[in-house]
Amino acid sequence: MSTPEIVFDNVSKFYGEVLGVNRVDLHIPPGITSLVGPNGSGKTTLMNLMTGLVHPNAGVIQVRGISPFAPEKLMKILGYATQYDAGPRGATGFDFINSGLLLHGFSTAEAEKRTWQAIERVGLTAAAKRKVAGYSKGMRQRIRLAQSIAHDPLVLILDEPLNGLDPLVRAETIALFREYAAGGRHVVLSSHVLQEVDVFSDQVILIANGMIVAEGQIKSVREEIHEHPSQYLLHCKEASRVASLLFAETHISEIRLAPEGQGLLVLTRNREAFATALERIALSGIDIDGVIPTDENVDALYEYLIGGGR
């Protein structure tokens, strides 16, 4: 029985002397997984490795128990919307999808039915008989998405699928990812904008310079980062008094008064100890109106993990 995971076991890929990815170990469970990293970080290489378009120099890859070296098995369960713009020369949007389905072994009638369904799904029915080469960037993005979902795969891999989409289509596309992932399928997509994918991803894999720098949910990822003190904004009326009490704590590394005395910006190296200290201060009768973590947002996380690695 096949393992419903995508597994990278110590995988490295070099393009001549240029590093693609280095010693990657990953276990990607079903759901929506986003690969996030700056341009050239190795996201596309990881996706191409998963799909067999490039081969690893070292390590083993399994996609739900199937090796990428067996395209005849893998491609039956996998759909990949690449970032490559071109389709077969002279092909219309309809041909582009239909010919792929014929190779899957669908009958002509079934292939045509599925082609129209997929095209309708991405809202390109009116342009289906036009040449792909004449499509706009967004339309090409959508036809590639249609091609990847047309055979109803278990694993959907999408390279920067939200690029070039207008807000309405973007929302529809995200809804499609959610629906797809809800049935226990894999949706793996890439982006260099963490904020964009954070809202709908079940897990995020952060990659920089060909190496995995973090994986998991955004919140739990932040908890694992010890070298950067956590930042909190405390809303309280007696800011100076709270500040003097917090300075007594050894885990506090910095306190700054917020403008107009509305609160404090506190940097702590120990989140649990900070919570205990706050509880103590509150019990002593000082009003604390609110505690807001300021660096658990994706921007800060991205900056901590990838910004320094650029």
Partner: protein, 287 residues
């Protein structure tokens, strides 16, 4: 109402000359070309024949070595139009292969990457673009044609003396202008193939196909119709005939003459230029 202050000022400093700007592209192209191993190998291999000919020239000019030999053999050793004709025929083969390897990389990548708008948005006309690309090939091909040819002629003139030079200066002119005509023609073919076929590889094949197929087709017409006039469409034959005219060699009566061949080459060049100008436009074509 918005008020816009004019903050932009045009650059008013000095500009390089037109010729200097024109040479920017060839400089980069030459650098890229010599990075290709096959081009380098071809350049080296193409020097063997000139070296062999130079040895021949040296030996031919030392008559004391051949005193016991008969007049037939001594006639064979003469450095004359026939000798330079053979030299030119062999070197032109190298030039053709070199053009088919190096030529297609000149325009095809610009077309496949839609780079023409980038060039034409600079102070470069289509004519400038074609000329600058052509300079690249002319420079490269002259290394295996005009340069060794003139060196060989210079060597013979140097050894044989002023009298020989005075009587045979036309051979030097024939080598220079004959090769110049040839490399211009080959460059135009290579560039047109490169402009019409976006892929370097196929364009290279097309350059070879152009010469070989025209030669084959003209021979076919000759043998099927039992005529000789179709030889004029064989670029190799036409060029050799024009060279023979320049080198003052005899041409078979029944074959097309120098004038017919020169007209064909001129028409071919004009046609290729027209095709090039038609193709090279700053537009993107959807296929």
């Amino acid at each position: 109402m918005a008020v816009y202050r004019r903050g932009y000022q045009r650059y008013e400093g000095g500009l390089t000359s037109h010729l200097e700007r024109l040479m920017v592209m060839p400089r980069f192209s030459w650098a890229r070309m010599v990075e290709q191993k096959f081009v380098l190998i071809l350049l080296v291999v193409s020097m063997f024949w000139p070296l062999l000919c130079a040895t021949f020239v040296y030996l031919a000019n030392h008559s004391e070595l051949w005193q016991g030999f008969d007049t037939g053999f001594k006639k064979f050793l003469a450095i004359n139009g026939k000798f330079f004709s053979v030299f030119m025929k062999v070197q032109s083969g190298y030039a053709l292969i070199l053009a088919s390897v190096a030529g297609p990389g000149l325009i095809a990548p610009d077309l496949s990457n839609n780079a023409l708008p980038l060039y034409f948005s600079r102070p470069l006309t289509r004519g400038d673009y074609i000329l600058s690309r052509m300079i690249v090939l002319l420079g490269l091909l002259s290394l295996v044609t005009i340069v060794p040819g003139m060196l060989l002629f210079g060597m013979q003139a140097g050894i044989a003396g002023g009298d020989w030079f005075w009587n045979n200066w036309y051979l030097g002119a024939a080598i220079f202008f004959g090769f110049a005509l040839y490399i211009v023609t080959v460059s135009l073919v290579a560039m047109t193939c490169s402009a019409y076929v976006k892929w370097r590889v196929v364009a290279g094949a097309l350059v070879l196909a152009f010469f070989f197929l025209l030669a084959g087709a003209s021979e076919m017409v000759n043998s099927v119709f039992r005529v000789e006039w179709a030889s004029v469409f064989n670029v190799g034959y036409a060029m050799n005939t024009v060279w023979a005219g320049m080198l003052d060699l005899a041409i078979p009566d029944e074959k097309p003459g120098v004038l017919e061949c020169a007209v064909f080459i001129g028409a071919l060049g004009a046609g290729l230029l027209a095709l090039l100008a038609r193709k090279l436009r700053a537009v993107e074509v959807v296929k």
